[in-house]
Symmetry: C2
Subunit: 163 residues, 2 copies
DNA sequence: GCCCAATTGACAGTAACCTGTCATGATGGC
DNA sequence: GCCATCATGACAGGTTACTGTCAATTGGGC
């Protein structure tokens, strides 16, 4: 029959809450980065190559996105002068994404604005609740990841259906 | 100076965890709805008009999206025969999105699959942790919403900056 | 050294969101 | 009733993600 149980409904409620917070956080990220000419996506790429220059595919793996998405963002960042492609001594084709002075300055400004934002929000939420939310979410993520890889395995092997 | 505090870092960590869970939940939603020819976005629209037929702008408000996004999804759903546009007795231009028999059947199947999924996941996470995560997230969302509307107000009035 | 598989960047196309703009339709002040 | 205003659908265009495909490059097996 597959009627929702109490735990199932609570789980669904958590997911809906995650959707809302996700949207609000993205919006906040865009507002934090907009004044320096960035966006959430661009900011994240700059953050990855801040530590050390890296090729597109490398950045994509770190961010959990496809090469193609990161390529598009990186090309846009190059057009706007935030990054430049440096020759890669280890790979002729896979050029390195590197921050320009302008990119580094923009990143520093966004990080300062982000810190101020997170600090302000952090003080407005009870620390105990914050910790509980983080550890609860972590547990949920682990279960979701397990389910996702199980589904992927089923898809490969023709495993369990629920048709 | 704007250096991250402990609470600020914890808050940032929560947001990153939310991003990951959001991605996994969307992926799961697509997998739940894909077998009947739907996607997360389409499923959500069907869910709204299941209760009663409604015009595009109405659905958009309920979902927290723009009219234009919902219009695109609804047009696609109509092309694929999941919904039809009914004349609206109260408004000549704003036709009503209504489920077709095919749409209703697809929605029922997705809902059954969703319930099975949520029930299974719900039993795998400690109930106490689940509740803590939901209430913690709710509190965070409220603070984010307050900040967001404050920023919007600042933008309108030329209020506080932090440059 | 040579070939095959994997990796990489490039390019085309799609999905789902967004903003901006416009004409049509509804609504309330007068 | 008339007109300004607002709501609505439609259309154009942009962002950020995706999949699929291709040639160039790299690197391992032989």
């Amino acid at each position: 029959m597959n009627k929702p149980t109490a735990a199932g409904e609570l789980f669904t409620e958590l997911v809906l809450e995650v959707f809302r917070v996700n949207g609000l956080a993205l919006e906040a990220g865009d507002q934090l980065s907009e004044p320096v000419g960035l966006s959430s996506a661009r900011w994240q790429v700059l953050g990855v190559v801040d530590h050390e220059p890296a090729p597109v595919a490398n950045v994509a793996r770190i961010m959990g996105l496809t090469r193609q998405s990161v390529q598009q963002t990186a090309d846009a960042l190059e057009r706007d002068g935030f990054v430049e492609y440096l020759p890669n001594p280890h790979h002729r084709r896979a050029k390195l994404i590197a921050l320009t002075p302008r990119g580094r300055e923009a990143l520093r400004k966004v990080e300062a604005r982000h810190a101020a934002w997170a600090n302000a929000l952090g003080t407005e939420v009870d620390l105990k609740n914050l910790r509980a939310a983080v550890s609860g979410l972590r547990q949920v993520r682990e279960r979701l990841e397990a389910h996702a890889s199980a589904s992927a395995h089923d898809a490969r092997t023709g495993g369990p259906h629920d048709g």
